[in-house]
Every structure is written in C-alpha cells, then in structure tokens.
C-alpha cells in the first residue's frame, strides 16, 4: 500500500470543518481570536489613520469642531458643568468638615489612554477594537467613566474599568486580549446597564411631577425653573431604569408613564451602583412611545451624546488598589 506524503485538499478541508465545529462547541475558543490580535492590531491602527484623516479634513473644511454642534447639548453641557461645580464645592466643604479628605486620598485610579483601531468586520454588532489590552491591565466587563471625573474628583473606583469617549459614557470592555480589547458601545444590542433618568426643566418652563408625601401618599407638585441662569435644572428624584442598546438608540423599556419623561431629559449612569460614580452622562431623550401592551408604561429612546460612529479616542480607567 502506498502512503501519500501530502494530504489531499479534501482531507485538509475535512480537518478544517472539524476545527470549525470544535471551535463552535468548545468553551473558551475565543483565545484563538485573541492570539491573532497582535497581527491585526498594528495593521488596523495603520488603516484607521485613513478614516480619522478624512474626518479631520472634513471637519476642517466644514469649519467645525468634532463635538456635536447641537445647541441644546451645549446648553446642557454648560448646565452640568455648573451643577458639577456646585456639587464639588459642597463636597469639598463636607470633606473638610468630616475629615473625609484624608480617607479619600488613599484611593487611586489609573487613566489608560486608548484609541479605536477598528470596528468588527461585520456591522451587525456595535463594537470597536481598542489598542489597549491585558498587557496594560485592562479587564473585560468593567466600568466606564470620564477623564474629567477622574481628574477633578477624588472618587475611588472599585474593581472594574470604564471606557469613555470625550466626557460621555460610550460603553464597556467586553473582551480583552494582550494588546487589544473589544469595546461594546452603549447602542450595542447586547448592552445593558442600570442608569438614572433625570427630568429637566429649562428657563421659563415648568413641569408636573409626583412625589411621596411625609405620610407616604403621592402628591402632585408643579416645579418651575428658578430663573437664576440659562441652564436647565434636574427636578424630582431621578428614575432608576435599565438602559439597553437597540443598535441605534439606548432604549429604556417599561418606564412608568406617570413620570412624564419627555424629550430633552438626561440619562446618566446609576449613581447607586458602587462601581459607577455618579454623573456619567450617556445621552438625551429624543422620544417616548407609549407601550402597546401596558398603557401605563412608556418606552424611552435616548440618543448618546458621544458621536459613536466617529469614535477615535477613549479612556479606560483602571482602579488601583490602595
């Protein structure tokens, strides 16, 4: 019997089919993709220079900044900055009074600068490839915060990492290789996180909210803007919601209609969670839709503040144990 020195193409094909089938069923087969990343990452980073240059050039021609040229967003940003200053001032005073300052000094966070070096090959998932990985101690499943927050606030971040684009929450790390990580955007269909919805009122506006009275009964309150400045105020307690991506928007399902959520309201990460510091802006309500099944509930659609389609620089925050 004559032995073949070289396997035929049919045998090779059969072997490859078995390999694919094994990869499909074996848990943890993603390591192969992670192993291939060191080849792909530098090349993708080179390729990414093309769209970034195109966007920059287009912005130069259009004579605009990369930030969203939305007046209301700018106004909202001014409001939030003003609010943040007030909060910071109050917090500093409290810290001095209570001696918390010395305790907070023990907490440290490391800011990891990362760039988006590509998208996934198939646009059916809203994910991006980052050029920072486990070699820089980035870990999957962790949290997202802004550079501003980390620089200006002395808040400790427990275990977990966050990824940010400019000052907005853009997503979280879901997969991590040695030199790269996969960023899941807030609009990805599998994205899900608790969040807070803030009802806002602008100058000259009023809105009706329901609050809990001292005896536990609900009462109707009409809140007006104080007129002290052009910025919008948050009114009432924020609403705890579950934010989910739907490919285009961040969607908040089954929000009680009595909250009267309306266009322009603000979505932030949930401050009640231990690992997400308060105040990370995600986006702004663009529309609400009454639920067909349950008329007492609405579905709220939120447009992310960050321009996710042109995301190029993000910051991964790594908490460092004191």
């Amino acid at each position: 019997m004559r032995l073949r020195a070289k396997p035929s193409k049919g045998w090779v094909l059969g072997g490859l089919c078995l390999l694919s089938a094994a990869l499909m069923v074996l848990p943890g087969s993603r390591w192969l993709a992670r192993a291939a990343r060191p080849v792909l990452v530098p090349l993708s980073a080179l390729g990414m220079n093309v769209p970034v240059s195109v966007w920059t050039r287009m912005d130069e021609i259009a004579g605009r900044d990369r930030a969203r040229p939305d007046r209301r967003v700018a106004e909202l940003r001014r409001l939030l900055l003003a609010q943040q200053e007030v909060i910071d001032r109050q917090r500093r005073r409290m810290e001095v009074l209570s001696g918390w300052r010395s305790k907070l000094k023990g907490f440290k966070c490391r800011l990891i600068e990362a760039s988006v070096i590509g998208a996934e090959a198939v646009p059916l998932q809203d994910r991006r490839l980052l050029d920072a990985g486990s070699s820089r101690k980035v870990a999957p499943g962790d949290l997202v915060t802004t550079r501003r927050l980390v620089h200006e606030r002395d808040i400790a971040l427990p275990e977990g990492l966050l990824v940010l684009g400019r000052n907005y929450l853009v997503g979280r790390v879901v997969d991590c290789a040695a030199f790269s990580a996969t960023l899941q955007l807030v609009t990805d269909r599998s994205f899900e996180m608790p969040a807070l919805l803030w009802r806002l009122v602008g100058p000259g506006q009023q809105r009706t909210i329901y609050t809990q009275g001292p005896n536990g009964a609900r009462r109707k309150v009409v809140v007006r803007h104080d007129g002290r400045g052009p910025a919008m105020h948050a009114v009432g307690e924020p609403i705890l919601v579950k934010a989910q991506g739907n490919g285009r928007w961040v969607v908040l399902r089954d929000v009680p209609a009595e909250y009267g959520v309306r266009r322009g309201d603000l979505l932030t990460s949930a401050g009640s969670l231990q690992f997400i510091p308060f105040g990370l802006r995600i986006g702004q309500v663009v529309r609400t839709e009454r639920s067909k099944r349950e008329p007492h509930f609405v579905t709220v659609y939120v447009e992310p503040f960050a321009d996710l389609g042109r995301l190029s620089d993000v910051y991964i925050i790594q908490p460092v144990s004191p």
Binding site: K9, G10, V12, L13, L16, C17, L19, S20, A21, A22, L23, M24, S29, R30, L32, A33, A36, V39, L40, L43, S44, A45, L46, G47, M48, V50, P51, V54, I117, G118, A119, E120, A121, V122, P123, L124, Q125, D126, R127, L129, V174, D175, T182, T187, R189, S190, N246, G247, R248, G309
Partner: protein, 177 residues
Amino acid sequence: MIRWIYFLILVLLAVVVQTSVVPVVWFRTPLGYVGPELLAAVAVFVALHVRSRVEAALAGWTLGFAIDLTLSGPGMGLASLLYMAASVGVYQLREAVFHERASLQFILSLLFCLFVYELWTLWGLLSGHLSRPVAGGQAVLAAGLAVYTAVLTPLVCRVLKPFQKLLIATPPGRGRR
C-alpha cells in the same frame, strides 16, 4: 489552483480594510448600522474563478475564519463554515451562467451574504445568544448588508480582476472558460 501566499496576503488586506476603512461607508438606520462586507465580495470573486469546488471551499473557509478572528462574543467557527458552504454554492451556480457579468456578481453576492448572515442570525437565536426581537432586527440588518455588499461586489471584482493570475494559477495547456 490558488496561490496561497498571495491569497493570504489578500485576506489580511481585506480584513484590515474591512475593520478600519470600510466603517466610513456604513450608514445608520433606525435598527443599526448597515455596511458592506468586503470579504464576502472577495469570496464571490474567488469562487467564480477557481478551478475546483474544493478550492472554492478552502478559500471560503479561510475568508470566513478571518471574519471569525475579528469578531467578539460567541460563535467562533461559524463564519468559516458558512463561508465555506456559501462559496461552494457560488461555485456550483457559476457553472450555469456566464460569470463576468456585473449583474450576476450582484446576484451571487446577494445570495452569498443572505445565506451567511441570515443563518448566522438564526444560529444566534437558536443558541440563545440573541433574543427574538434582537434577532429580528439583526435579520433585517443582514439583508441590508447583503444588498450593500452585492452593490459593491462588481466593483471589487473589477479591482481584483488584474490580480487574478497572481491569485489563481491557470494550469498549463488549459484555456480560460
């Protein structure tokens, strides 16, 4: 016969362009992004020009595996199998038709992408990785991806045509179809 070194370079180039440059031409819809899939267009080109079904399958598997390597989440290995099957399908279909026509490249690419990405979505649904509404949205997006890719496939074929001899060796003494 496929010249594998050149073919692998083409695959690498296609992956890099697909993940870095192609997102520029994605457009947003109420359901999500719709964009072309360059590797599918390359697979159609190769399947239209290789000399055997096994080679078409091998090339398809390689391109699908490249897609697998760039994705995150579950389902590693699925794209390579689907690409392989779709490439064989294109190879079979080409026998019945003249393969240099742009309209044919459009149709074959459309069928290729619909086959790959609708089955991929179905797998996600059946394996429990996608909920029913998410899979529904993804199926519509996959159809958009198929149309977009099909529109660009004749262009990709035209770009690759001058490199055909570099990618696929013609055995001596055999003329072109």
